[in-house]
Subunit: 435 residues, 2 copies
């Protein structure tokens, strides 16, 4: 390579927003080999602030905070989700990876390469420290949210793997079998999860790809799921998107602006390490579109309990009009049918339980019979899965008319630790490992 | 449903650009049950023009033209591709489906529902004619490009299926086995293909979903592939994106603005029904990222023949500087290595052959070993696959240093008929069926 002219001039225009290079004013070289930023021992957060200077872009979601980002953050359009197995038996190695991930997340959520050395700034004889595919792209509102599975605390025989068993949070239960579950082992469980959400799918894939790469030999990928379009709003400023059944989804979702409800239903508040965190429930729900698409409009609407057009409840009004579960129609039958999804999932029929949903449409090709493998990758953030998810899912699985068109093929439950303070020594999961 | 108040007021804000409803000024009801547009026998194209009125949105790519859209159209960011089997043995039924698809494409490429009846305007006792998931979204530059596989003209025993065998175009060959091919039957071949590209993946998925749905009983899905991000530019106005190896991809791609080169390398020009059409080569190319990511930067750059940062050729200059294949470096070795991808794929080493590439990054989760199933869904448009694709792929498969990191797992070759004129009686593939 010594004979090859290397071009270090500022480079291609970004596709949208700030480019990673533009952030630095003078091109990547300035950060990689420039003014001594990030020399050994230099505090990482301060160096990062220096590097960014006045260039804090508009499409950055702060990685730091009391809670992890990617929970009440307005749901971005694209998802890349991964569940990992931990291979190492060494607690220190696991902590070291979480520290590396933290440093990487601080940078990639600002649209920077994973490390200061970046994707072409290191030794030409070493593998690049960043895989490069997001290098020209903006931060794209990237959030990275990490969770811990039950199997991280104890293996299936109950053995303590990393000295964490005493800190197994009470909500991190084994999810029961629900009626109709057809879970595939290769899409279920995991010791760790990474939820990367962004406006640009390449930015989300890059995040997961690089965190996995940094964990080579320490973790391995158990399963991975791309979500091409969000199906929930988590902010009142967002329009309600439609799922692949063609219905608006998540109209009655918890919204970030309702901080009292978020406090009641999402954040764990106790004296444990998990206080300020939450639980992430993931369900890969295949939709049997071939059958659904042959259902009459009136049938579809009775199954959902809302009109397909506006999303208004069958009891009347507009999209955000509260459902009247008691309104009776002809034949003295409830207008919102007893087996409709909206009734069975409604807080009034579930002891007031609500979830913060953050799901995504997926399309993974076809099965061996040529049916489309498409559906909803359901994600919900809940304060306590045992009361906030299991009872409602038990009921839906048994009674919901919609269940006939659904097949749960994957599942995961993860404890999501609280956020990382803007302190160079803080790291993801520190509250657990120092509990 | 008679007892349920249906809300027909103009509805939710669109997420971007024009909404399907806003297009119509007065809400979907106006089109569905309104002023008699599209009454039986009313010419479809004229009615469509009326319905759109002055509201032609900015993000519409015209479906009509000498060539199909989605070929030289500036490559949109998202892809949904499907390969279909034809189930019917009835030529008239196949033609009828192509006519239905044509009518649907005229509408969905303008951001309208599949039919005038739409997704909630029909009888409540009939299945909706549009599945609804893109109803609130803009046209998103949607293009739908349809192609015909060799098996449509004759089955594997050579039998004429639909009276088309005499019109089998000479370029629609059986692709040979290439060194290292690991093609999966469930990702290979097909009688028909649909390439839907759009700015919004939900719009692309909706297009494929609805065309498949309209073909229930006539066609079945053989395979389907989502591409989350484009890896090629087809216009000089587009920045070059990066593939999942982190390199800029398609720097030297044919560009739509170079109409002479497009004429030379893309459009079939003869006296057959295919004149004005082209051939679409699809290859699902898995990238073995776990191995690639451990390769040194200099090794990666020598394999590609370009620098990772700017994409400049190793012979020097900037991204768009022509590669100098003859420049010698130390040890009297070519600076652009003899087994580098850029050299082996270069027109100068391939009798001047060029392709119009239109590929997409994909991420389909993990394999049974936990390795990421990610890579490039390669699409190329070529005038003659026998000279414009097969020789170069034979060479790459044998000699390209990059092949070690690639695994071809799916393949398809389709003849892409010329475009549909803006005439209500014209339909996709008419030139073939009336040849």
């Amino acid at each position: 390579m010594g004979e090859t002219p290397r071009d270090e001039t500022p480079t291609t225009p970004t596709r949208r927003g700030f480019s990673r290079r533009a952030l630095l004013g003078t091109g990547a070289g300035a950060l990689a080999v420039g003014a001594g930023l990030g020399a050994a021992g230099r505090p990482a957060v301060a160096a990062l602030e220096d590097a960014l200077g006045d260039h804090e872009p508009q499409d950055v979601v702060d990685f730091h905070g009391e809670h992890q980002a990617g929970i009440v953050t307005p749901a971005q359009d694209r998802l890349c989700f991964a569940s990992l197995n931990v291979l190492t038996k060494d607690r220190a190695e696991l902590i070291s990876l979480l520290k590396d991930w933290t440093a990487a997340c601080r940078r990639i959520t600002r649209g920077l390469d994973v490390t200061e050395t970046g994707f072409d700034g290191g030794s030409e004889y070493a593998p690049p420290q960043d895989t490069g595919e997001a290098h020209d792209l903006s931060a794209a509102h990237l959030t990275v949210t990490v969770g811990f599975g039950r199997s991280l605390f104890q293996d299936s025989s109950g053995k303590d793997r990393f000295g964490l068993k005493a800190h197994l949070p009470k909500g991190l239960i084994e999810l029961p079998h629900f009626a109709g579950d057809q879970l595939e082992d290769a899409r279920t469980g995991g010791d760790l999860c990474i939820q990367a959400c962004a406006d640009d799918p390449q930015v989300a894939v890059h995040a997961v790809h690089n965190l996995i790469r940094m964990g080579f030999g320490v973790v391995s990928t158990r399963w991975m799921q791309l979500g091409f379009g969000r199906t929930s709003s988590t902010s009142t400023a967002q329009a309600t998107p439609r799922n692949l059944f063609g219905f608006k989804d998540g109209t009655a979702n918890l919204k970030a602006e309702d901080s009292a409800a978020i406090d009641d239903h999402v954040w764990v508040r106790d004296d444990s390490w998990l206080s300020g965190g939450t639980y992430l429930v993931a369900r890969r729900i295949r939709m049997i579109l071939e059958t659904w698409d042959r259902e009459a409009l009136s049938g579809q609407e009775k199954i959902i309990g809302r009109t397909k057009g506006t999303g208004a409840p069958l009891s009347g009004g507009e999209e955000f009009t509260p459902v009247d579960l008691n309104m009776m129609g002809s034949g003295n039958q409830p207008i919102v049918p007893v087996d409709s999804h909206v009734r069975l999932a409604h807080p009034d029929t579930n002891h007031g339980v609500q979830m913060l949903r953050r799901g995504y449409n997926y399309a993974d090709g076809t099965d061996t019979l040529g049916n489309m493998d498409v559906g909803l990758f359901f994600i919900a953030m809940v304060k306590d899965p045992a009361t906030g998810f299991v009872p409602i899912q038990k009921k839906l699985a048994r009674e919901d008319a919609l269940s006939e068109y659904l097949r749960h093929t994957g599942s995961g439950l993860f404890a999501v630790p609280p956020g990382v303070p803007a302190d160079e020594n803080a790291y993801l999961g520190q509250q657990l490992f120092e509990a």
